[in-house]
C-alpha cells in the first residue's frame, strides 16, 4: 500500500491492479492567493492555485507566486470562502448596490475586506470588520471603510478561513537572495564580448 504525503502518489494504481479510467473533470478545487509586496504594504490578490487542501495550497502558492523576491508574506483561502459584491463601472460605487442589513448588532466574527479601486488592477486589502456573516460584514465595511472614493467591487473573507504566514514560515524566503543565478544581473557578458570584438578586429 502506497502511503505518501503527495496525494498524486496515493492515487497511483496498485501493482497488478487493473486500471480504471478516472472520473472526468475531477480536478482539485481552487484557492485564492494574496501576497504582501513589501513590509507595511497591504496584501493584494495575486491569482489562484489548484490544491487538495488549504495547507498544500499554501505550499503551491509559495512555489507559483513567490519564487523570486516578489513579496514578504502570503496567504491563501478557499475560493468558496470569498464573498463578492456586485461589480460596477464608471461612477457607480459597489457599496451603493449592497442591500441594507436587517440587524445592526456588531458581530462576533472577524472579516477581511478587499477593494477593487481600479478596473484591470487587483483587489487590495483595506481593513477588518466584525460581523455575524459576510453580508453584514459588507454593510459594516460601507460604514467603516468606504472613503467616498469609487470602489468597483468588494470582497469579504472570514479571517478564520485564511491560512496566514506564520513567523516560522518566513524562513521560506531566507535563501532567495543567495540565488543570484536567477537574476539577469548575474549574466554580465559585456567584457568578454568586448575582448572578443577587439581580438577579431586585429585579426582582420
Amino acid at each position: 500500500m502506497l502511503n505518501s504525503l503527495d496525494p498524486r502518489v496515493n492515487r497511483l494504481p496498485q501493482i497488478n491492479q487493473s486500471i480504471s479510467p478516472k472520473a472526468p473533470l475531477d480536478q482539485f478545487g481552487t484557492f485564492e492567493v494574496f501576497v504582501q509586496p513589501k513590509e507595511g504594504k497591504s496584501f493584494q490578490h495575486e491569482g489562484i492555485v489548484h490544491a487538495p487542501n488549504l495547507e498544500l495550497a499554501y505550499v503551491l502558492a509559495k512555489e507559483a507566486f513567490t519564487r523570486r523576491f516578489t513579496c514578504v508574506s502570503l496567504y491563501v483561502v478557499d475560493t468558496r470562502e470569498v464573498f463578492v459584491s456586485p461589480m460596477t463601472e464608471g461612477n457607480n460605487n459597489a457599496y451603493d448596490l449592497i442591500p441594507e442589513s436587517t440587524t445592526s448588532t456588531p458581530g462576533n466574527q472577524s472579516f477581511e475586506i478587499y477593494h477593487l479601486a481600479k478596473r484591470g488592477k487587483q483587489h487590495v486589502h483595506v481593513g477588518t470588520v466584525a460581523a455575524n456573516n459576510p453580508e453584514e460584514a459588507m454593510v459594516h465595511a460601507r460604514e467603516k471603510l468606504n472613503t467616498g472614493k469609487i470602489v468597483f467591487n468588494v470582497w469579504a473573507i472570514a479571517t478564520e478561513a485564511i491560512r496566514f504566514t506564520s513567523e516560522e514560515d518566513k524562513e521560506l524566503w531566507l535563501t532567495l537572495p543567495e540565488k543570484k543565478f536567477r537574476d539577469a544581473s548575474d549574466y554580465k557578458g559585456g567584457d568578454k564580448l568586448k575582448n572578443f570584438l577587439e581580438r577579431t578586429k586585429i585579426n582582420h
Partner: protein
Amino acid sequence: MYGGGNTFEGIKTDSIATEDPTKLAEFEARIERGEKIEPADWMPQLYRKQLIRMIEQHAHSEIIGALPEGTWITRAPGFKRKMSLMAKVQDEVGHGQLLYSAAETLGKPREQMIEDLINGKSKYSNIVNYPTFTWADCCFISWLVDAGAIVNQLANAKGSYGPYCRALDRICAEESFHLKYGHHCVIYLASGTPKQRQMFQEALNRWWPPMMHFFGPSDKISAHTEVLMRWKVKMGTNDEMRNQFLDMYVPKIWELGFTIPDPKLKRVKRQVSGNTLNLIGKNLSA
C-alpha cells in the same frame, strides 16, 4: 517563453451579428478607452473563444517547451550552467501554471486543457518539437527562441484581457533573466574555440527556418483579423512581430561573427521619426 505564431481558427465573423448590439458597443467602447476586460464582464463569444485558444496554446508551449531544455540540465557544461538552466526550466513550467490560471477565468477547466493537450486536440508552438543535438541548440533556444517569445509577449501584455495581461507582466519580468543567460552562453561559445564557434553556427543553421516559422504565417488581413486587432486580442500582425525580432537580434548575431542562413537578409536604411536607422529588411514577397 514560447507565445509565438498564433493561428486563429477561421470562425466566421458573422457570429458577431448574433451578439447583443448594445452590449457589443459597450464592450468595444471599454476597449477603445484602454480599459481591461475582466472575467465577470460581458464579452462576445468570439472574443472568449479566441482568447481561450490563444492563452491555452501559450500555456501548453511553456510546458512542452521546457522538455527539450530540461533534458540538457544534466549535460550542461559545468555546475553554474546546470543551476541556471534548472532555474530557467522551473520558470517555464511556472509560466505554464500562471497561464492555465488565466485561461481558466474564461470558463475552460484546467483539466480539460491538459486533456486536450494529451489527446492532441490543442496545439502548441511547433518550434519546441525540433531536436536539440548539441549544447549549442540549447543555447539557441535560451537566447533566440526566448527573444522571439518576448517580442510576442510584450505586445500581448498590452492586450485587452486583464488576467492574461497580469500573467504576462509577471512572465516578462522573469524572461529578462532567460534572455541575458542565453546571450551569455552564446557569447562564451562565440569567443571560444573554433570547434565551439562551429557548433553554434551549425545550431543557427538548423534553427533559423523554425525560428522564422515561429511567428506564424504571413498575415492576410481578413475581416476576422481586423476584428481581433480592434478587440486587442491580436496586438500586431505576424510579419510585424517577425520584423521586430529581425531588427533587434540580427545585428547581435552578426556582431558575434556568425552567418545567418538567409541570403536575402540585407541591411537597409529606414526612416523612423526623422532618424535614419540601420535596420534589417526582409523581402517577404520574394
